[in-house]
Symmetry: C2
Subunit: 473 residues, 2 copies
């Protein structure tokens, strides 16, 4: 079976013969065996071994092999026409170093054998100056296809659709459509939907495989199809396509151009990747991490990505510290203020972060449609007041026992309640405002909210204390 | 078309006629129209309106309707046999209040018309004391099916599989299998895979629809099938099933019992729901939120869920504060300590939270397989030292200018570097240790890490300062 030319099996179960390796034991053991085979030159046996493993499992071996071993493994995969499929399963962050081990001619041969979107994905993994030398080795048709994908907006529907779909005219019969499907054979990636078009290529409907099989053979496609199906524009964001597939429980969503002509389809397996990527992105952005910063990415990359963000963080920390600095005379006179000020600021930070998480996640999975924005904000502020009231009371008692002054407890209570109400407001408002201005609602929101709760917490607490400093001495 | 009895259309595109409503405008406008129709008793027109909208869109209307309007809408949906499908699309948190509006007889009729797993999902949405009265109204066969699902472990593969799959004996021909598929018709939910079994019902292989269509009619299933397919045990966690579907790009995964007999299959649309749920869960657990705490859930629920957690948080804040308390004499003598101590603790918290996010996400999406655990921890600690070194230097300069004493800068630098190294260690180790002890790696990890960085930050900084207090005065 030639996996390279039937990318379709990406959406089918395990194109490979068996998964026994995955089942027999954990990967590390197998790597040792494979590594030994590669080292001792037992390439025939290594080839037999990897033929029995799914591409997704082979991809996991790469980060644990030396460059030389990686090169041998690629050759073995290439010989069985599985190099493209396996490279496709590599994490995006690891791809460039593996591609660097493959020479231009071999890489062009791999690109020629995969779908244009996968080919474009490999080209994008190359340094800019190497791209033309690989592209020129492709035949004209393939090069144009790949360049079209490279030219579409990044993360757009058009850039990760498959063009190997089954389309039929809507005025033929179901029998004729089934016959056409048999003729198309392996040229089609997904055979769970057949897309119906008019004579101009405009998408008019979709026929699920089930209906095609069950309809009387003479039924016209037009009468069997679901008219006016959900579709997505080629320039739409991949996230929009993923949301539609998730919401309407689709297996694939057709991609159309501005005139409604069908260009391709996005399959559900790619949608799962997008959903996982977007979830990672949201979690990462809230704490100011770059997407490429993974457990396995090089140390230097993590440092380079995080340092500027941390220096920005430091600036906001100085801002909060300068608020404390303004009130240093009060602290000198009543040092209990220094003891309790992290409690006020920290608890506000917790409320803010929780609210931020609820609202950001609601925006991401479309839950905000289920309530009004104003209602959501009011609710979060009320929660802040409620939690601030209860924990403020407990803190007030602790403060009273510590300092022996009722007024200190009262100041603590007020500062906690005010800061947590503000934390609820900031946690809800920051992602909503970012979204309103068409920014990513998660972008750096964590640091904005905690800076706000720090500044607000220190200020409320220390300003109140300064006002009553006579009683606190 | 009867959606209630063809749950299959959940995996097919838009079982309904058209999505024009969704396209024409935003939901709020439509709710107003629908509400007016319901209020003025124009039920015929309301029925026509909702017939043109996808169940997933109708479900979004519920939270914005009054209970009376909700009841009318359910009746309208019930009349067109779409109540079950629409209820299935409601967020889990909203379901109970809607179910409370439906009487036992009608609810039993709805449960009877849907798949056992969906029926069980509705029963689980009822208060415990109401469940038996609905179950007894079902016929014996259906009741047993639903009770079987209710009896399987929560969030297990068995509890959310469909039993409406196509199985064939592996010794028949492809032609005979296609014929059987036509006979089964609407009784089958997914027709993209046909599952092959031996005479004992044991799963022996899977035949993708494509292969069934393309194979010569006389080919035996045994020769057309992919043998030994990926499958999942009925008691396995839903997350395991989701991971396999995502990793191997499947459209469905068969569910088997201990003997390898096929019981059903989990389809990819349900897997998408699981993936989104798990991502929400991870983000929520890191900041100590309960799953039911959504933007639209009642205020009282959010307060009830968050308060105990926040009181625990307060206790950890007191712990950090008591560290400050130990050093209050030093602070009184050098108040610059109070100004800079939030910087040391806060920057440590940032490094810790970032590291925690990288490692937690890596565990969740299986990226940790790509590197060794020890290597991952060492890397994160090194990042902490690197960032601590650079930001520590900047803070040292700021401290020197503020206090006018070089020793103060040196103390700040050392405290920052040490605390951030510890933050990298804690951020990486906490989720890994939680996982080692078979706990959720995200469970409350945020508060553990930030408590650690607060205590460690305050202690390192103030203890160093106390040692050099003579020079700081």
């Amino acid at each position: 079976m030639n996996d390279e030319t039937t990318r379709g099996s990406r959406t089918l179960p395990t194109g490979e013969r068996s998964l026994s390796l995955r089942r027999e034991g954990r990967a590390p053991v197998k790597i040792d065996i494979l590594r030994r085979m590669i080292r001792t030159g037992a390439h025939g046996r290594a080839q037999k071994l990897i033929e029995r493993v799914h591409s997704a499992d082979i991809a996991e071996l790469f980060p644990n092999l030396s460059p030389g071993e990686q090169r041998t493994l690629i050759d073995l995969l290439y010989n069985t026409a599985r190099a493209g499929k396996t490279l496709r399963e590599l994490p995006e962050e690891i791809l460039p170093e593996v591609l660097a081990l493959i020479d231009d001619a071999k890489l062009a041969a791999i690109v020629a054998r995969v779908e244009p979107d996968d080919g474009a994905y490999f080209i994008e993994g190359l340094p800019e100056d190497r791209r033309p030398s690989v592209l020129t080795l492709l035949d004209t048709k393939k090069r144009h296809e790949v360049e079209r994908v490279l030219g579409s907006p990044e993360e757009s529907a058009g850039s990760f659709m498959t063009t190997r779909i089954a389309t039929v005219l809507d005025d033929i019969t179901c029998e004729a459509a089934l016959e056409r499907l048999r003729t198309l054979g392996d040229q089609v990636e997904d055979v769970f939907y057949v897309y119906a078009t008019n004579a101009d290529g405009m998408l008019t409907g979709v026929v699920p495989m089930r209906r095609l099989l069950l309809s009387p053979p003479g039924t016209l496609i037009r009468d069997a199809m679901i008219p006016d199906p959900v579709s997505v524009h080629e320039d739409a964001d991949q996230e929009e396509a993923a949301e539609l597939v998730a919401k309407y429980n689709l297996l694939a969503i057709p991609v159309v151009d501005g005139e409604g002509k069908i260009l391709g389809a996005i399959t559900v397996d790619d949608v799962i990747d997008v959903i996982q990527e977007e979830a990672t992105e949201d979690m990462y952005r809230m704490v100011g991490l770059g997407e490429e910063d993974r457990v396995f990415s090089p140390l230097s990359l993590s440092l380079r990505k995080r340092l500027p963000w941390m220096i920005l963080n430091l600036a906001t920390a100085f801002l909060a510290a300068s608020v404390v600095g303004v009130f240093q005379d009060a602290i000198r006179e009543a040092v209990a203020l220094a003891v309790f000020m992290p409690v006020v600021a920290g608890m506000g930070g917790n409320v803010g972060t929780q609210t931020l998480t609820v609202v950001t996640r609601a925006i991401a999975i479309g839950e905000l449609e289920l309530t009004s924005v104003a209602k959501a904000v009011v609710k979060q502020v009320t929660i802040g007041i409620g939690i601030g009231g209860v924990t403020g009371l407990l803190t007030a008692l602790a403060g009273y026992f510590w300092a022996g002054k009722p007024i200190f407890g009262l100041i603590l209570f007020l500062a906690m309640a005010i800061n947590m109400a503000m934390a609820g407001l900031a946690g809800a408002a920051v992602p909503l405002v970012l979204r309103r201005f068409r920014q990513d609602p998660a972008m750096g929101s964590g640091v904005i909210v905690t800076t706000f709760t720090d500044v607000c917490g220190f200020f409320t607490f220390l300003a109140l204390a300064s006002a009553f400093i006579e009683q606190l001495r």
